[in-house]
């Protein structure tokens, strides 16, 4: 595409360049995807029950919430931020969503809208704390995590929200053409966020702010507004995730999502996002989320005790990121 000539860099042909760039973009996803495929094949052999439509759909539905919230987290991480409040906010959204159904008789769609609204408000709060009050993201969202959990307990009186109509289960347990509804939603969210990040101005600004906030500011990007926008959008997705989680257990659970932030951050980083900003893609994150889910699923299928599961999850996290780093470095230094 470029008509500009290289100086020291030897050009090895436009096509190969284009190809290399794609590869370099996709290294992380490749690594994680390779791990995913290897694990998949191994599990297929190890357990006769693994490769069944039911189990695969189960895994899909089980991972839906994590994947959606991990997509939200990825956006935030790209801006060099972090959102520790996802677990609390998901719980808050799920509980409020359940309460408006139970106590105010809202229909499901309206309750979902309310849950998304709760997420958006929490995101707005995070965004304003970070941009207007200039509190670093880690601390801003740590506070929201604490306040959010407190609110959940206060409004529910620390009791789960039960007594919901069957229809409440649609998001989490419904199916469409035999595919779990939650999986369909996850796919839509993933495609949507991936598109947003890679093809739109909003996405471009997201990467720019994470890469060099001052440069973005000097380029005339209204960084306060955009950063807040990222947190709001992330909050909306977290609200959606919380609603699906509530729907899956047909109740609002005040304890939902404790230490969820670690899972979703791990998914994003396994998928190639950098906590120092500017890097990360949704494909990778989704693969990362499924990788973790598969480990957990496989461990139960093979009846591995929770104790060894924790060791295995740790090893897999190390291995996935190690190989990713290793391949990136190789790609960088050898071509």
């Amino acid at each position: 595409m470029s008509t500009v000539e290289t100086t020291a860099g030897t050009q090895r042909g436009e096509l190969s360049d284009w190809f290399r760039e794609r590869i370099s973009h996709a290294v992380s996803e490749f690594t994680a995807a390779t791990a995913l495929v290897v694990l998949f094949i191994a599990l297929s052999f190890a357990s006769p029950y693994f490769l069944t439509a039911d189990n695969l759909f189960n895994i899909g539905a089980q991972t839906a919430v994590i994947a959606i919230i991990a997509a939200a987290q990825t956006m935030v991480i790209i801006t060099k931020g972090i959102d520790l409040s996802v677990g609390s906010v998901a719980a808050l959204a799920g509980v409020v969503g359940a309460m408006v159904v139970r106590d105010l008789g809202f229909p499901l769609w309206a309750a979902t809208a309310v849950a998304l609204g709760v997420g958006a408000l929490a995101g707005l709060l995070n965004g304003l704390l970070i941009t207007a009050a200039r509190i670093p993201p880690f601390i801003a969202t740590l506070g929201t995590m604490s306040v959010g959990r407190g609110l959940v307990f206060i409004i529910t009186g620390a009791v789960g929200v039960y007594g919901l109509p069957r229809s409440f289960q649609l998001l989490g347990n419904g199916e469409i053409l035999g595919i779990p509804f939650a999986v369909v939603i996850t796919a839509l969210v993933a495609v949507g966020v991936a598109f947003l990040l890679s093809q739109t101005r909003f996405g471009q600004y997201t990467y720019a702010m994470g890469s060099n906030l001052e440069a973005a500011r000097r380029s005339g990007i209204r960084v306060g507004r955009h950063l807040t926008g990222v947190y709001v959008l992330a909050g909306v997705l977290v609200g959606l995730g919380g609603m699906i989680a509530a729907s899956r257990v047909n109740s609002g659970q005040p304890n939902y999502g404790i230490s969820l932030e670690l899972d979703v951050i791990a998914a994003a980083v396994i998928g190639g996002a950098s906590l120092f900003g500017g890097q990360g893609r949704i494909v990778g994150t989704i693969i990362g989320a499924f990788l973790i889910a598969l480990v957990r699923n496989g461990a139960v299928l093979l009846d591995i005790s929770i104790h060894y599961q924790q060791v295995i999850v740790g090893l897999i996290i190390w291995a996935a990121v190690y190989f990713d780093q290793y391949r990136r470095r190789r790609l960088e230094s050898r071509g």
Binding site: Q62, A158, V159, R248, S251, V300
Partner: protein
């Protein structure tokens, strides 16, 4: 058994109707079970009159050190009495001693300490024995023939969890026809319970029964079985009696529930403590009893009182 009153250092009896401030500390806040304990405690306080209950607890049952700190802080605050459930029997023993040393009487509910000082009563159910009973219920429900069963525990490493798991397993040992094919924790999270149960079901298509050891575990397991279309085909023996658990019992998803009497624990804790403080009544331990609720007995008055406790008709006989 009857335990003698600890001879308080000051020995002073509180003014018969004077205001009393009691700390009531659950293992953790945030479950239906503990809220029922709270209701019982508040009921007793209200009936006694001029008694305030300060209800405070850590957020997870695993925060043992947090609970030690909390008890210490209550000692500092010089409440008139402390009623609490120990997250860990041995770890909390020094905290109880500290309270006694500061002349603050202590009553334990749900879970005592080890050693349990003389003069400190325990109002509780025997978790272990009840879990043995749960295994028997499961065996009865499944009938003769070989069956695969699974266990959904909640928090490995926490004492209550250990007691229930040990009890269930030793109960199971009496039934060679039952084979434990899966054991996974829910971390007291309904979503997690549902997830592990789904995976256990996938791995064990012939699964015939599940014992789920606390409220979130039961709810998640029931959800998973229902979603797999196996309601009624997989027997669930649960623990506790949250409204949705009772509903599950009624519609056949759950076969039986091991139900303690948390209301009574809270009620006894406060009631006996107040009587001790005001009338120097001796503090004596009591078993608050356990009920095995099935579809058959669920509508009996006695069970109803346990399941739907209210201060108007407290299940505290």
């Amino acid at each position: 058994g009857g335990v003698e009153v600890r001879d308080g250092g000051d020995g002073a009896t509180k003014d018969a109707a004077g205001p009393l401030k009691l700390a009531v500390v659950p293992k953790a806040v945030g479950a239906d079970y503990w809220n029922t304990v709270k209701a019982g405690a508040e009921c007793a306080a209200q009936r006694a009159g001029n008694v305030t209950v300060q209800w405070d607890g850590v957020t997870t049952e695993t925060d043992v050190e947090g609970q030690v700190n909390l008890i210490q802080n209550f000692v500092t605050k010089k409440v008139d009495g402390i009623v609490y459930a120990a997250t860990d029997s041995r770890a909390l023993a020094p905290a109880t001693d500290q309270a006694l040393g500061a002349d603050i009487p202590v009553a334990m509910i749900d879970s005592g300490t080890s050693p349990q000082p003389s003069g400190v009563p325990l109002f509780a159910t025997d978790n272990r024995a009840s879990a043995v009973e749960a295994a028997k219920l499961l065996a009865t429900e499944l009938g003769p023939g070989n069956h695969d069963v699974a266990l959904v525990e909640f928090q490995p490493g926490s004492q209550t969890n250990t007691e229930r798991v040990d009890g269930f397993k030793s109960g199971l040992a009496q039934f060679p026809n039952l084979k434990l094919v899966g054991q996974q924790p829910s971390r007291s999270d309904v979503n997690e319970a549902r997830r592990v149960t789904e995976n256990i079901l996938t791995a064990n298509p012939n699964l015939a029964g599940i014992f789920a050891a606390n409220e979130p575990s039961v709810l998640g397991a029931a959800q998973a079985i229902q979603a797999a279309g196996k309601s009624g085909k997989v027997v669930i023996i649960g623990w506790d009696a949250a409204p949705d658990e009772v509903a599950g019992l009624r519609n056949g998803q759950i076969s039986a529930l091991v139900v303690q009497n948390p209301f009574k624990m809270g009620y006894f804790g406060v009631d006996k403590m107040v009587k001790h403080l005001r009338d120097k009544a001796p503090l004596a331990s009591a078993d608050t009893g356990v009920t095995f609720v099935t579809k058959e007995n669920i509508d009996s008055a006695e069970i109803k009182a346990v399941l739907e406790p209210s201060c108007a008709n407290p299940p505290v006989q």
